[in-house]
């Protein structure tokens, strides 16, 4: 490419001549790769922190289960530990299962719902 009419000048050659002492620092690729790794580590740490914080806020609010799954929509609200017998009444005090085990609200199970014959 001639800048002057006499063709004694080429922009490319002139630029290369002017800038031939302009060289990047040695080991530039290594510097860039190290910077990339540092940036990526920070990004991963940031993402993990975000997930932990989101889960930490979401679980107490009931927005998600502890494993991250959404809570089951028909899951009953558990207000306490009272367990009722099949007819809805609480087991009579002192009632025993055929095995002899004392039936309480915590031991009641379908297998134990065999009531003794009425005396």
């Amino acid at each position: 490419v001639s800048i002057h009419a006499d063709d004694e000048f080429s922009l490319r050659i002139a630029l290369e001549g002017e800038l031939d002492n302009v060289l990047p620092a040695d080991g530039l690729a290594g510097v860039v790769i190290a910077r990339y790794r540092r940036t990526r580590r920070r990004r991963v740490a940031g993402a993990v922190t975000l997930v932990v914080v989101a889960a930490g806020i979401g679980v107490p609010l009931g927005l998600a289960g502890p494993s991250g799954k959404p809570a089951h929509p028909s899951a009953p609200d558990r207000a306490g530990s009272v367990t009722h017998s099949r007819d809805g009444a609480a087991p009579a005090p002192g009632l025993r299962a055929p095995t002899g085990q004392l039936i309480t609200s915590t031991t009641l199970s379908p297998a134990s719902l065999v009531l003794p014959a009425a005396a």
Binding site: A14, L15, G17, Y36
Partner: protein, 172 residues
């Protein structure tokens, strides 16, 4: 093994391409420091997308470089308080000129409008084709040709003026 290959390929590319990218950045920006920052940012972005960039890494890096330089211009426009750097850089260029009067051409190039300067740098310093230049700068090929023509004409006038002022611009 894959990471090792990736790093080896990238290192080879950097060794081959970084001198011309740095020179281009130096012409497009105002200082060596800015040019080195832009180059490092360019290489970082290229390495981040290396799987895609390695098909044509030079073209990819050129496009990233011009964006990095434009970001630097915009940053300067938003932060005029850092304009003091420009004065400092002008002194650096003056010092370089005083030493060997070799940076007159670069200084004259910096006086061209942005598009003309970018086109001349891409075409004659980075050896990009008209199509590659158009793609990297986001302009039409016809615009590249006209900007190159006008840029050369403008450069010719500015260099003539410099010569009249007694500066020897190019080796005889």
């Amino acid at each position: 093994v894959r990471r090792g290959n990736r790093e080896a390929e990238f290192t080879e590319f950097v060794e081959a391409a970084s001198p011309s990218l740095l020179r281009a950045a130096l012409v497009l920006l105002e200082s060596r420091e800015d040019a080195e920052d832009a180059l490092q940012l360019t290489l970082l972005r290229t390495y981040r997308r290396w799987d895609r960039a390695k098909e044509a890494p030079a073209a990819y890096a050129r496009a990233v470089l011009v964006n990095a330089c434009r970001e630097r211009w915009r940053h300067r426009a938003r932060h005029p308080e850092t304009a003091g750097d420009m004065d400092e850089l002008a002194n650096v260029v003056s010092f370089a000129e005083a030493v060997d009067r070799r940076h007159v051409l670069v200084k004259v190039l910096r006086r061209l409008p942005d598009v003309q300067r970018e086109v001349l740098v891409f075409r004659y310093l980075l050896d990009a084709t008209v199509g590659e230049t158009a793609a990297a700068l986001g302009i039409a090929e016809g615009t590249v040709k006209s900007a190159a023509s006008r840029g050369l004409e403008q450069l010719r006038m500015l260099l003539s003026a410099e010569e009249k002022r007694g500066r020897r611009v190019y080796p005889r």
